[in-house]
Amino acid sequence: MKPFVSHTGLVCPLDRANVDTDQIIPKQFLKSIKRTGFGPNLFDEWRYLDIGQPNQDCAGRPVNHDFVLNFPRYSGASVLLARENFGCGSSREHAPWALDEYGFRAVIAPSFADIFFNNSFKNGLLPIVLKDEEMDVLFAQCEASEGYQLTVDLQAQTVTCPDGTQFSFEVDAFRKHCLLNGLDDIGLTLQDAEAIKAFEAKHQVASPWLFGAIK
C-alpha cells in the first residue's frame, strides 16, 4: 500500500448524502477478476448516460455533462467532498478500489459507513470526518473558486484551505501509523517476518512432511 503522509490536490464537491457503494461502483463490474480497472466505472450510472457493461471501452460512451465529476474544472481532482453516510451499502472492497484508481487520495465527509471506512484505510484512501459546518465552508469555497485545492496532512491531522483556514480531524492512532508508513495488513504481518521464519524452521523440524511435498 502506498503511504499517505500529506497531500495537496484539486477538490471535487459531490454534494450528496448517502452515496452507497452500488453508486460508487455498480454490481455488474464485480464479476471482474481484477482489483483494478474500476476507475473508468467509478460512479458509472452518474457519469454516463448509457448503462455500462464490464470490459467496455468507456471512451466512446455518452457522457453526462451535468455530473460534477465531468465538469472540466474538476478534471484531475484528487480530494472528494461529500455529505453524510458516504459509502453505505454492501461491503465490496471494489468501492475504495474504484475511487483510488480514479485518482482520489482522500474523501472528506461529515460521516462514513463503517465498512467503507475500514476498507478505505486498507487501500490507502484517507477518509476524513469534518463537522457539518466545516463541510459547508469547504463546499462554499470550492464552488466559488476554480482550481480550488486543499492540503490534507495526516501527520498533523489537518485540512488546510488556500486562505490558510485549518480544520483538524481525528484518526485512530493505529490506522494513522499504518497509513503513514504504507502498511497494509500484509505489510504489518511482514514486520514479523523473522518470527515467521523462526517458527517455520521449528515447524519443519517437527513436521518435515509438510514442506516441499507439493511441487
Partner: protein
C-alpha cells in the same frame, strides 16, 4: 490444569506469535485455491511487488465455474460458453503457471471440487492448518486438521505471509453416541445437529464431532459432517484422528512416506482431545433417534425427519420465529402441516463438496439400481466431486446404473450447488439436493432447495416426491 481439546492442540502447534491486541499470527500449512476468490489476491500480490511466501504450500483447481456437460468440457477452456466463467478459469491457470503453483486444470483427472481434491490427493493431512477462499473449507477438519474458509484479502495475506491473523475460538463438542439405523447417514446426522442447535449454534466456536456414531463413520462421512459445521455457525469442524484417518491418508500422492510416514503417524495419534479437556459447550444426540432428514425451508436449520409434517406457523408462539416460518413456507410454496413426503420434486441434484465422494455415489446407486427416475422429474443430475471419483465410479459401473435409471452422469465440479455454471433451477422448482445450502435463490433465482442425503435424493428421484429411503432398502 485441564487437558487440551483437539482444537487447542492444533492452535498451539501453529501459533507464531500472540499480539498485544489479543490476536495471533497463525501459520498456514496448506492453501487451496480456486478460480473465483483468488484472482484479486494474485493481482494484489503483483501490484505490491510481493512474492508468495511458500509456493509448495499451495495447490489449485477450478471448480465453481466449470461446465459439467461432456460436450462443453471436451472443447477445453476455449469451449466454456460463459465468458466470465471462461475468464476466471483461464486466469487461475495463468496465475498458477506464472507463480509455479501446482494446479489440476479443468480436464486433468485430478481436477474437482477443492474440498474433495485436497483430501483425495493427501494434500490435506492430519495436524495441518488448511485454508481456502471458500466457507466449506471446514470439510478438511475431518482429518484432525484446523481448516476454515477465508476471504479474498486473506487469500492474498496467506499467499504473501503464510500466516493469518486470527483470534482463538471457544470449544464446542457435539457427541453422537450409539449406532445409526440402516439408511441413515452422516448427512442426516449433521442435518439433525443443525436442526437441534440452529445455524448460529456454533458461532464463535470450533465444533468437535465426537462419540461412537462419529467414530463408526467412514472418512467420507466425517467429511460430510465437517463440511456442514459452517452451516451450524462454526467456521471450524474437527474429528479426532484414529486408525481410519491414518488408513485413508496412507499412500496418497502427497502423503509422507518412509521414515517421515512413521514420524507423522506418531504425531497424528496424539491429535485427539484429552479426556479432561474443557469444552465451553456440549451437545448430545443419540444415533438411534436420528431418521433420514429433509430440509423444508430456506435455512439448513429448517429441517425435519422424513416422516414429519411441515410446521404450522400458527403453533409458534415466538413472533420472530413465526414470521420466519411464514416467509419460508411462502418462498418454498408449501402449506402448513403438509407431510414432507407430499413434496414433489422437479429436479434432483446429487453432488457438491458435501456429498459427491465415492461412498455417496455408491449409496445413491444402491437405491437407483434397477429403478427409474419418475417421469415427473425433469432432470436428475449426478455430478462426481472429482475426476478420480468419476473414474472410480465408472470402474464400479455406477455410471451405468445411474444412466439406465435416467440420471445424467456429469463431469466434476460444483455444478448446481450454487449455479454459477449453467446447471440451475428455474423459478419455483423444487430440488432434492445433496448440497449444503438451501438459501433463497442459491440454486437459481426462485429455486426451492431441499437438503437430503444421497440415498434420500435417489429415492426422491425415483418416487417423484420425498420418501423414506429405508422403505426402499432391503
Amino acid at each position: 490444569m485441564a487437558g487440551k481439546t483437539l482444537y487447542d492442540k492444533l492452535w498451539d502447534m501453529h501459533e507464531v506469535k500472540r499480539r498485544d491486541d489479543g490476536s495471533s499470527l497463525i501459520y498456514i500449512d496448506r492453501q487451496i485455491l480456486h478460480e473465483v476468490t483468488s484472482p484479486q489476491a494474485f493481482e494484489g500480490l503483483r501490484l505490491a511487488g510481493r512474492k508468495p511466501w511458500r509456493i509448495d504450500a499451495n495447490i489449485a483447481t477450478p471448480d465453481h465455474n466449470v461446465p459439467t456437460t461432456k460436450a462443453e468440457r471436451q472443447g477445453g477452456l476455449e469451449a466454456i460458453v460463459d465468458e466470465v466463467s471462461r475468464l476466471q478459469v483461464k486466469t487461475l491457470d495463468e496465475n498458477c503457471d506464472d507463480f509455479g503453483i501446482l494446479e489440476f486444470k479443468m480436464n486433468d483427472t485430478r481436477q474437482g471440487i477443492v474440498h474433495v481434491v485436497g483430501p483425495e490427493q493427501g494434500a490435506t493431512l492430519p495436524g495441518m492448518t488448511v485454508v481456502c477462499g471458500d466457507s466449506h473449507t471446514s470439510t478438511h477438519g475431518a482429518f484432525g486438521a484446523l481448516a476454515h474458509g477465508i476471504g479474498t484479502s486473506e487469500v492474498e495475506h496467506v499467499l504473501a505471509t503464510q500466516c493469518l491473523v486470527a483470534k482463538k475460538m471457544k470449544n464446542l463438542k457435539v457427541a453422537v453416541e450409539g449406532t445409526l439405523g440402516k439408511g441413515v447417514t452422516a448427512k442426516d446426522i449433521v442435518l439433525a445437529i443443525i436442526g437441534k442447535i440452529g445455524t448460529a449454534g456454533g458461532n464463535g466456536h470450533a465444533l468437535e464431532f465426537a462419540g461412537s456414531a462419529i467414530r463408526d463413520l467412514s472418512m467420507e462421512g466425517r467429511m460430510t459432517l465437517c463440511n456442514m459445521a459452517i452451516e451450524a455457525g462454526a467456521r471450524v469442524g474437527v474429528v479426532a484422528v484414529d486408525e481410519k484417518t491414518i488408513a485413508y491418508v496412507q499412500g496418497r500422492p502427497f502423503a509422507p512416506q518412509g521414515a517421515d510416514w512413521d514420524k507423522a503417524v506418531a504425531q497424528w495419534q496424539g491429535l485427539v482431545s484429552d479426556d479432561d479437556a474443557h469444552f465451553d459447550k456440549v451437545v448430545e444426540l443419540k444415533a438411534e433417534d436420528i431418521k433420514p432428514q429433509v430440509s423444508w425451508g430456506t435455512s439448513p436449520e429448517m429441517v425435519l425427519a422424513v416422516d414429519q409434517n411441515v410446521p404450522d406457523p400458527a403453533a409458534e408462539k415466538d413472533a420472530v420465529k413465526r414470521g420466519s416460518i411464514e416467509r419460508a413456507l411462502k418462498y418454498m410454496g408449501l402449506a402448513a402441516n403438509q407431510p414432507i413426503t407430499s413434496i414433489k420434486l422437479d429436479r434432483v441434484f446429487i453432488g457438491s463438496c458435501t456429498n459427491s465422494r465415492i461412498e455417496d455415489l455408491r449409496a445413491a446407486a444402491e437405491v437407483a439400481k434397477g429403478r427409474k427416475v419418475a417421469a415427473t422429474v425433469k432432470q436428475a443430475l449426478v455430478v462426481p466431486g472429482s475426476g478420480l471419483v468419476k473414474a472410480q465410479a465408472e470402474q464400479e459401473g455406477l455410471d451405468k446404473i445411474f444412466t439406465e435409471a435416467g440420471f445424467e452422469w456429469r463431469e466434476p465440479g460444483c455444478s448446481m450447488c450454487l449455479a454459477m455454471n449453467p446447471d440451475r433451477l428455474e423459478n419455483g422448482e423444487h430440488c432434492a439436493s445433496t448440497s449444503n445450502r438451501n438459501f433463497e435463490g442459491r440454486q437459481g433465482a426462485g429455486g426451492r432447495t431441499h437438503l437430503v442425503s444421497p440415498a434420500m435424493a435417489a429415492a426422491a428421484a425415483v418416487a417423484g416426491h420425498f420418501v423414506d429411503v429405508r422403505e426402499m432398502l432391503n
